[in-house]
Amino acid sequence: MGILTTRRGFLAGGTGLVLALTLPVGRGRAQMTVTGPFAPNAFVRIGTDDLVTVTIKHIEMGQGPYTGLATLVAEELDADWAQMRAEAAPADDTLYANLAFGAQGTGGSTAIANSFMQMRKAGAAARAMLVAAAAQEWDVPASEITVKAGVIAHSGSGRSSGFGALANAAATQPVPEDPPVKAQADFALIGTDRPKLDTVSKSNGTAQFTMDVYRDGMLTVLVAHPPKFGATLAGVDDSAALAVKGVRMVRPIPSGVAVYATNTYAALKGRDALVLDWDDSAAETRGTEDMFAAFAEAAAQGGQTVEEEGDLAPLDAAATVLSAEYRFPYLAHAPMEPLDAVIETRGGKAEMWFGSQFPSFDRLAVAEALGIAPPDVSINVLLAGGSFGRRAQGSAHLAVEAAEVAKAAGRDGTFKLVWTREDDLRGGYYRPMTVHRLRAGLDADGKIVGWENVVANQSILAGTPMEGMLQGGPDNTSFEGSTGLPYRFAARRIGWAAMESPVSVLWWRSVGHTHTAYAVETFLDEVLEAAGQDPVQGRLDLLAAESTRERAVIEEAARMAGWQGRRRDGKGYGIAYAKSFGSYVAQVAEVEDRSGIPHVTRVWCAIDCGIAVNPNVIRAQMEGGIGYGLGTALHSRITLAPGGGIEQSNFHDYRMLRINEMPAVEVSIIASDQDPTGVGEPGVPPIAPAMANAWRALTGQKQYQLPFLGGAMA
């Protein structure tokens, strides 16, 4: 086994060429023997320079897997953190699959969760081989050898060594089949803060992103997309575009019209000079208001039942019945690095460099578009300047557009596809616009006798290559968070009405929870107030005895905030709770009224995400998630004008949170011995309802439509 799956190779190290040791671990190994190529499932490489490089199968887009996965390896390897390095894995389904998906990809806040044991085993195997090598060289029993902070030692003989000096010898050792891993009590790195591995390069301008790739003879390409979703190209006059200095060619491609130029400025000017005629006959021509009316009508019809418990009849006869209709707009993810991809075609093969979040899908789709075999497409996964779901494309539309650009060029070459911010905001793949209808009934004692929530929106998966995941059932991502609530209502019904539109939709940081948490947690707040209950105690009273993790985060957030009720000292306080991606989060927001505009001054956040691998990264994700959700609730909406066409175009009218709007954030991580769960997304859902609840407490104003401030300048 060891000989078959251990790869030796010469790698450039700190002081020249060094022999590396590569370890196969985990599920991919068995698959590897089936598929044949001599490329072991490699996660760990140790150079004679003592550096330990961990190959990271998940894209680093700010959420921290470079650091998190390296931590897992370092823990079991007993490495010193200073010797750890991270590098991106290339596209390779066999070796680098997300164990939660069965394919290579990042999403659903699963990076740590699916890697937790796999990466620890990788580290443990490397450690065992180093120890075996030391035992052989020093002629001492392996059981007497210790490893600590990168030093292998044998106290009896006084021998000690770093990893590098034993790397060559370790490479010849058999690979342990199932190396033991540490008990939680023995963790030295997991659960402690340490510097992130990508911070330095991101603080001095040297971090390499897709847009930073320049290759000889490369052309920069911009694509003019249809102004309305579903419109098709009817005519092109490219004469003025071709007259722009630096523009080399103009080609129609399935997604629009591509302009190829020697630099970005020329491509921009060339695209601007195109005269284009579009056929709108299949386009979405409804404006947002028309669409909301249609969605609201569908919600009023009740939709299909996706969750039901108890008898809802008492709701209609309840002493007090509350109802509300909520409207949520389309949202763009707006990562700071707009979408981009570099593709190079050479003699029937293609190589790509970009922030591929689903390399599996991207590779297959590019191969199909180019009419070549998937093994002839290689993908170098680069750092991504944010994603928030935008680069996780089941349709692989960006990679395919790059492939179409390369194909339409009619020759081998290198092409950098760049989207502008306008392309990004108008390019679809939005968080689905959504209508919620909620009803709740209280009996004379203030007990909630019935709860009904009907959601109307487009399915994210239907009509995409991932439709098979639905297995004919409703799309859970459309209403997740409305279902599965921990609150014990006497009866409840959740309905879903599937809407259709040519406007493309996609998962957006925390997916269904982006709207369900808002609707559920603000409506519940109103219901609790109508029942004469405190927002914190009222929620706790609705929890079952076994809901200990839910209870713990709500109590902890309230404790941190010094909760004393909805108002104090001229400020409003609101709490919201949401479980998403396996993690439990509660947040309390403190809000001031600044000339009629809510200003969140402080947020207290409690999270239970199982074992906290890197508390520093978890805190950062909570801070960032709060800012992301807050800015969206205050400012962001994508709307269609009557007749179709997106009204927003850039950050002046699709506003982001800015530093002057950012609250102070305090995060508490609940101690846990459970396996790790997500942190990239779960910080987002509670903040908008927490703010809205605080704002209502302060001003009495209910906000049933987001964003708060209308989206334009406020």
Binding site: P226, Y265, V275, E422, Q648, S649, N650, H652, M713
Partner: protein
């Protein structure tokens, strides 16, 4: 023109105030007021005519009374948010010239432009006009205590020839110019001064 050109339309129009909807705002030359016999009345009428320029968004946006500038024909708060700063030139780290250069700059990814001129700054607080009546603006504009120590002749010079004032008629793509011309504005100022620089009620 591609759909990209639509981008700035939304930005720069939005819900337009009455002023901007009346795109046919014109101003008359001094001779148009010759029929008013009374000097003071004629002078006040001339200033009222000048007021069409003074209260245009091109002028008011950078003559705020409190806080920072507004922007666009609909006079929205400036985004990104900026403050006046000690020198009417923004905050340390983000002064006006962080974005505004010596000339208007056409955007490359969308229609529209970033306005620019050398120099580029806010009018001092003492010269804030937003929310003032025309009569109040008139009194303020004549008052050397508040107008930067200018005599009426220096005020004429400013209105007729100052480059930043002149920018109001050359504001770059996506902004409605101030009505008339700077030349006409200068002529009105001259006639207003020559008739006694009276203020409207």
């Amino acid at each position: 023109m591609t759909f990209l050109k639509l981008a700035a339309t939304v930005w720069l129009c939005g819900a337009l105030p009455l002023w901007a909807q009346d795109s046919a705002v014109t101003i008359s030359p001094p001779a148009a007021f010759d029929g008013i016999a009374d000097d003071a009345e004629r002078s006040a009428a001339l200033f009222t005519e000048m007021g069409k320029v003074l209260t245009s968004p091109r002028c008011l946006n950078c003559h705020p009374v409190t806080g920072g500038p507004t922007q666009g024909d609909d006079m929205q708060p400036h985004n990104p948010p900026v403050v006046r700063g000690d020198a009417d030139f923004g905050a340390p780290g983000m002064t006006c010239n962080t974005c505004h250069g010596p000339k208007n700059v056409e955007l490359t990814t969308a229609q529209g432009s970033i306005p620019g001129h050398e120099p580029w700054s806010l009018a001092p607080v003492s010269m804030g006009w937003v929310g003032l009546s025309l009569g109040e603006i008139c009194s303020q504009i004549k008052d050397p205590e508040r107008n930067g120590g200018k005599t009426l002749e220096e005020l004429y010079e400013h209105n007729a020839h100052d480059g930043l004032v002149g920018w109001g008629w050359d504001p770059g793509e996506g902004r409605t110019p101030a009505p008339g011309t700077q030349e006409l504005f200068g002529q009105l100022t001259r006639a207003w001064i020559d008739t006694g620089a009276a203020c409207p009620a």
